[in-house]
Assembly symmetry: C2
Homo-oligomer: 402 residues x 2
């Protein structure tokens, strides 16, 4: 028996005897002496032809089979090459399915999708989600590693939350209480100040938000970067935009039509939050909320507006007010009631949050106090600021100039 051939490679094996392994996705008995099977493996789907007495022994759908046969040109449009089966082995039978999974769309509700998750994942639409995710993550890593970033893995079991204790899962840590990290923020900054300057992480984060909306997740994979010696929040937005633009061509090439991904986009507009609020007021008659923040509906509308005005359903919002940003956000250079921070909104969802950090210890301590945080509990984090943080310009001091 020959080595296994993936169905995507069948065309390179026409006229050869091949072994194919996979899941029986569809069966069609044409007569007592002719049947067609579609078998799926990780590379795609292939058509198998059973003739003679073998056409009467069709395995149940989703059974796993190994077939051996001749790869030949087919008259089928969907499958230019098919396999004339000479022998078939049942590697693993399938029980009868709770619902069909061989339709173009999986026509079942979320409850069944959850309950039969491994089965539903065999549907090409679900498979694609994972493949897109892989492509984004691997590109992210290559992109930033190529720019001198170090890939790091920060602790997930922590003693203190990033934002001061809200929305943390607590863990029984040998009788003590520990928490699941809601962000790698502190550790990223510590690593930047530890001399690495540029770090990135692809890792789990946890948020104890009891929810049922698409804007909340208890557990997700966060793509994080952190850099030192940055003076302008536009540098960060430039970097993110450059990353996105470098990602699109390969995503478009592989999944373009299926996920409506273009190969290039116009520049993403950048708006101060206040400007965005004015636009929402003028264009959509919405009054800004009292804390100056933008709500989910506002994020949806400003994405619509960006699509109409700039041809891209994304917008960088910057200059968020201090009270709605974390204690470590750097106050605005021009207006210190604001921050040098930004969010990237895409199709109505915040997909990134970023900003310059307060790297000077006295104002950082002051900011913690204002929020009722006890600096003693954060000494593990604050220490790096005592021994030379690779800051932006906010705490610079000329030693001499010739």
């Amino acid at each position: 028996m020959s080595n296994r051939v993936l169905v995507a490679d069948l065309s390179r094996h026409q006229g050869e005897m091949v072994t194919v392994k996979g899941w029986v996705r569809r069966t069609r008995a044409v007569s007592a002496e002719l049947a067609f099977l579609v078998v799926a493996d990780r590379s795609g789907e292939a058509q198998l032809v059973l003739s003679g007495s073998s056409a009467t022994t069709l395995p149940s759908l989703e059974s796993v089979v190994e077939v051996y046969g001749l790869a030949v040109t087919s008259r089928s449009r969907a499958f230019p090459v098919e396999v004339q089966v000479e022998s078939m082995v049942l590697l693993a039978p399938s029980e009868s399915l709770p619902f069909p999974i061989n339709k173009p769309e999986l026509e079942v509700g979320l409850e069944l999708i959850d309950r039969f998750r491994p089965l539903c994942l065999r549907h090409p639409r679900f498979q694609r989600v994972f493949r897109v995710e892989q492509q984004i993550i691997l590109h992210f890593e290559q992109f930033f590693a190529g720019q001198g970033f170090l890939r790091v893995s920060t602790p997930k079991l922590v003693a203190t939350g990033t934002e001061g204790g809200a929305e943390l899962f607590s863990v029984n840590y040998f009788g003590d209480v520990a928490y699941l990290a809601q962000s790698p923020q502190f550790f990223k900054q510590m690593l930047v100040g530890s001399g690495f300057e540029r770090v990135f992480e692809v890792g789990s984060v946890f948020r104890a938000e009891q929810h049922k909306t698409s804007r909340h997740l208890n557990e997700f994979i966060s793509l994080d970067i952190e850099i030192g010696f940055v003076e302008d929040v536009n540098t960060l937005m430039d970097m993110e935009e450059e990353f996105i633009k470098s990602l699109l061509p390969s995503l478009h090439q592989e999944f373009g039509e299926a996920i409506k991904c273009p190969s290039e986009i116009p520049p993403i507009p950048r708006l101060a939050l206040e400007e965005a609020q004015s636009i929402l007021e003028k264009e959509y008659g919405r009054t800004p909320s009292s804390d100056g923040n933008i709500d989910p509906e506002g994020e949806r509308l400003i994405s619509q507006w960006a699509e109409r005005e700039y041809g891209v359903a994304a917008v960088f919002l910057h200059s968020y007010p201090r009270p709605i940003r974390p204690f470590y956000a750097l106050p605005g250079y021009a207006n210190n009631t604001l921050t040098e921070s930004f969010d990237l909104i895409f199709r109505g969802q915040e997909i990134t949050t970023g900003g310059l950090r307060q790297h000077s210890l006295p104002p950082l301590l002051q900011s913690m106090k204002e929020r009722g945080l006890n600096p003693e509990k954060y000494e593990f984090y604050l220490q790096v600021f005592r021994y030379g943080m690779c800051s932006g310009p906010q705490c610079q001091d000329t030693i001499f100039k010739v």
Copy 2:
């Protein structure tokens, strides 16, 4: 002022005015009018020359400075190019250090290393640990992605442990109890059976082992792979060996001397656990333990033996007895009191564990019962075996053969 130049790139800027930013690692005042500074950035170290009145204003060690000056050829052996400083800005001062970090070795105990972690990480020896880790992980991802593996991220908050509840951290999950995943095992298998066939993960795992040994960790990053349609445990060992061999040349090139990493190694010997026990008995006079397992000292000795006999301090041990392997381990083809499993032992430490899985539902259920596990609690995992698992040969059944 020119753009920043990394110190590793200074030689390409000789004769130019450059800006350098970094940490003041060493200072040496030669006279009232001449001083040398060594500044470190993420790329390495550079020598700065202060002359005239500027030589009297030396910043404290580990302060972060930005200097501007002329890059010139130096007579120093360590630094072929140095910067004649014209101006220096203090970006962030450092308090006085608890201990010197500019020695070839950091001469402090573990307690101080823990307490001053961000500071200690600036030492090149600690920096290297992170850089080696990055190189291994990125290579791992590229290697397996290149062989048709999908990068996945499995849940870390789980309802049931992989091995049946031991050594799990418990999490308060909105009033219920959840656990931190001690391994992605179940999810890897489910994804393989969901049609992906080959998956890998780089992710956090958690073990509630109260410890103070180098063989235990509460939290670590696990590099995992899982494949379907595998029939021989040697295939898995081949794959791992191929991965290791592909990794060594680049590790050797970048870190070889510092971490004693060769660019190639002889084939790694493969021993049944029983053979290893005989060797330990004959060569080192050690009697095997009653459960047939090998202990830490045995792992250390068998690595020594492999180094002596095969020129590599690593050994694959296989054919572990069933009682000391998980319930999902496939029983041995030739002897069903053993398993088709292996560990890779390197310098006395188990660095990998692997094996073929039981993919047929009835014996899998039987194995769970024997260990007192309630299959109902594992239905989320067992489901994939009902609907066609991409198995090895253990449950095959010929449908027909022409």
